[in-house]
Amino acid sequence: MSCIKCGLCLSSCPTFQQTGLERESPRGRVQLIASVAQGVMPLTQGPLADTMFSCLDCRACEVACPSGVPIGRLIEKGRAEVVHLSRRQAAQTPGEQATRLALQSLIPYPRRLRTLGRLVRWSQRTGLAHWSRHLKFLPEGLRGYAGSLRRLPSRTGREMLAADPSPVPAPGSPRVDLFLGCVMDVVFGEANLATKRVLERNGCAVSAPLGQVCCGALAVHAGDRDGARALARTNIDTFLQSDPAYIATNAGGCGAALLEYPEWFADDPVYRARAERFAERVRDASQIVETVGFRPPAGRFPHTVTYQASCHLHNVMKVGDTPQRLLQSIAGLIYRPMADMARCCGSAGIYNLTHPAMSAQLLARKMADIPPEADIVVTGNPGCWLQLEHGAATSGPPVRVMHVMEVLAEAYRSEPSAGQSES
């Protein structure tokens, strides 16, 4: 599938929409990568390197491209080349160093991330977080977010799950393994708990295998393919050992990465087949709920809700209208669609930290698209969640942000005959 330069991807690309620059477009990015590959020009630290990293990885272009050009994969490879070059030239800005430090030493290790979580909680309680805005040594993006970051829950999702009793599964219930995610588990542990409960209410036997690690998406987006593959191997081994019917994710970014494991191992004779067996079971939790036969909650959720389709959930996992359908089945819930709901909100993994200006522009557009009647924005990815909360706290409108699974869990919880999953 090669690019014939038709331009039909241009209008789908948020960075092109903002800048109008060919180099900030999918067509331009693909051409730059091809020019280097064909030896038309050398790889430098110039505009090419910048534009590889200013891509949001939102994959809207792939959905728009009729020729089926694997734009995301090409850009990831382009990034790997740029990273390789910059390691050789060892010229790194402090921002790049901070990003790399986080990617290599923190995110792969759930325990270290939990420790960081505790540190952040401590700083929030002591008021230090408030001051972090003025700490000039932090990258600009991070300074802005530290102030609006939600108060972290005192427990991780895994800890909440462990304390939550499960009903005895009916014989023949599909076994579902939950992929907890790193940011999701530390920052939005409740969403993992809600996902477990919703899946259980729909007749699944849910567990969360120990030994799972970060999906590797952030590493691969940063051009660190080897690091990403190491994480992927651990996950593949862990989940294939457990052998569930489905592997459930509730973070679009993670789910998309898990689905792409076979591509990461395209040249690996052993792991390619294993990655395929792994990936074919990966689904977003909302998709599993529909597949196993959705049992709509009898409880009410009296709110006006809009839905922000996280890019990876929409463009890569292809959940389509599933989350909206689930939401619309809830009594009392008034659903208001958001214009251009699949356009990236500017969160894009750690993009808001690495490219604060572009991220802020995209967030402003997203906040402006929230229908005025809505009091809740529902999303399906922790990055979008943080980003939208940041928007709500800074520019407004002051909406609450929730995960699809939380809304459903809430509606189940408020059922008249108050169910078993009360806590």
Binding site: L8, E22, Q31, P66, S67, G68
Partner: protein, 486 residues
């Protein structure tokens, strides 16, 4: 062609930055490389890229370029299919996409004023929001600019009933090669004062002047539309139906043809459940008042069935018909799923010759053993035979170039033209003498000289002597246009 007298790139940058601002002049190779292409296969990198923001800036850029005799290649969104914006001989790529304002939509006098860089789909949406209609709808509308489409005199499915860009152009603001600004036409629907320069600039492919603004005619929105899909097991029956629809005096808003290879590629892109076993589809739109439309749709459906359609469905909802149109409009790009390179032609024949043209195209493809996909605006006799190939395979490419020459030969034999809407660019320039005799070509050359005496505007396009030569010898065809009364 004398580039030796040009200023150095640094000097050009300094001079141009003074006009448009330094951030709108691009000189880094990694930025210029992105102005080397359009949707054809030749790539040449310009020396510098300039992105003006106003008519005045365009004028000053051209004044400078003309004084220094530097080549200038106007560029919209580079979706062109004839190579119009490719900077063949180096010089300045003039990116007009910053000129992206819709200046006025006038509901009383039914016109709009736009800058050249406005995206066609954006404009059509704004017009629809004002409850009016701008019919020309090239499949590239989500990307293509108004300026590029005017310069190519683009069409689209709606051309069948409503005509092409030229039919909706009331006036233009054009910057000439020496930087002087001309205003042509006006905002009236009738205008016969003096020569019709508007119609001359439309379709001039950036060789006579740079379109900065346009006054566009709008019409009332039809009350409603219906989309029909007719499925054929025999492609010739589909082509035959089209001639008969036209002969019977029916006037759908659009009448499009999709062959079996096109069905397969677009189905693998959109998964709409199109019939993969069909030989051809006709996609037909009717529009007008609700009562008339419902009846017309039924009449045409029955007519298609009578003429061999296996089944005809009428889209039940607006969403369904939008999906069918998305399918049609994706084909031109989706064909790249077959092979990596495509040579897109848009040879056009008189409508009565459509069935024969389809037969001849199939025969040519078989003769040269090439992958030929056929789709397009069949109602206008404007088919898009696309040859799918691999540029890196010289043996295959030799057959491809022969195929193209033979397609042109047959088209002209049937009384047609080299191009219905994509323009001549560099791709068809070598064939111009096949369609136009020396007197006609010479008249065009003299016209060009009047507007652009130094030949700085888009050199290498339209005229056979300026374009890159055809990759193979054209001797076997040796076609010369017959004089009108031969």
């Amino acid at each position: 062609m004398d580039k030796s007298s040009w200023p150095t790139p640094d000097a050009m940058r300094t001079a141009l930055a003074e006009i448009v601002g330094v951030e709108h002049v691009l000189t880094h190779i990694e930025e210029r490389a992105l102005y080397a292409y359009d949707a054809t296969i030749r790539r040449t990198v310009p020396d510098i890229v300039v992105r003006p923001h106003s008519t005045g800036e365009i004028s000053r850029v051209l004044d400078y370029a003309n004084r220094q005799a530097i080549f200038v290649y106007p560029r919209g969104s580079a979706t062109g299919l004839s190579g119009g914006s490719v900077p063949l001989n180096g010089g300045i790529a003039l990116d007009l996409t910053r000129m992206n304002r819709i200046l006025e939509i006038n509901r009383e006098d039914l016109y709009a004023r736009v800058q050249a860089g406005v995206i066609v789909a954006t404009f059509a949406r704004a017009v629809a929001d004002a409850n009016l209609f701008f019919p020309p709808d090239p499949s590239s509308a989500p990307a293509a600019t108004m300026g590029g489409s005017l310069a190519e005199n683009a069409g689209g499915p709606h051309a069948f009933k409503y005509g092409v860009f030229r039919d909706y152009t009331l006036g233009l603001t054009v910057v000439l090669a020496d930087g002087k600004i001309v205003r042509t036409g006006g905002t009236t629907v009738k205008n016969v004062s003096g020569y019709d320069l508007t119609r001359l600039f439309v379709g001039s492919e950036g060789t006579l002047g740079v379109i900065a603004e346009a006054v566009i005619r709008l019409i009332p929105k039809p009350e409603t539309q219906r989309t029909l899909l007719a499925v054929y097991e025999d492609l010739h029956q589909a082509a035959d139906t089209v001639s008969r629809i036209i002969a019977a005096g029916m006037q759908p808003a659009a009448l499009e043809f999709i062959d079996d290879a096109s069905i397969r590629v677009v189905e693998s892109f959109l998964h709409l459940g199109l019939p993969l076993d069909a030989a051809a589809l006709l996609l037909i739109e009717v529009d007008g008042p609700e009562m008339v439309v419902a009846e017309q749709a039924q009449t045409i459906a029955a007519f298609c069935r009578q003429h061999g359609a296996r089944e005809v469905t009428i889209a039940a909802t607006a969403a369904e018909s939008a999906r069918l149109w998305q399918a049609r409009k994706s084909i031109s790009s989706a064909v790249a799923r077959i092979k990596p390179s495509k040579i897109a032609e848009d040879a056009t024949v008189p409508r009565s010759r459509i069935p024969e043209m389809v037969r001849r195209l199939k025969a040519i493809a078989a003769k040269y053993a090439v992958d030929l996909v056929i789709f397009g605006h069949i109602g206008d006799g404007n088919l898009h035979p696309n040859i799918m190939c691999d540029e890196r395979n010289p043996e295959e490419m030799a057959r491809v170039w022969q195929t193209v020459a033979e397609i042109f030969d047959v088209t002209l034999e049937l009384g047609g033209t080299l191009t219905g809407e994509h323009g001549v660019g560099y791709m068809k320039a070598p064939f111009m003498p096949w369609e136009h005799d020396e007197t006609a070509l010479d008249a065009m050359r003299r016209l060009k000289h009047v507007f652009d005496p130094q030949n700085i505007l888009n050199p290498g396009k339209v005229f056979p002597e300026a374009a890159p030569p055809w990759p193979i010898s054209l001797a076997p065809w040796n076609r010369k246009r017959r004089a009108p009364d031969d």
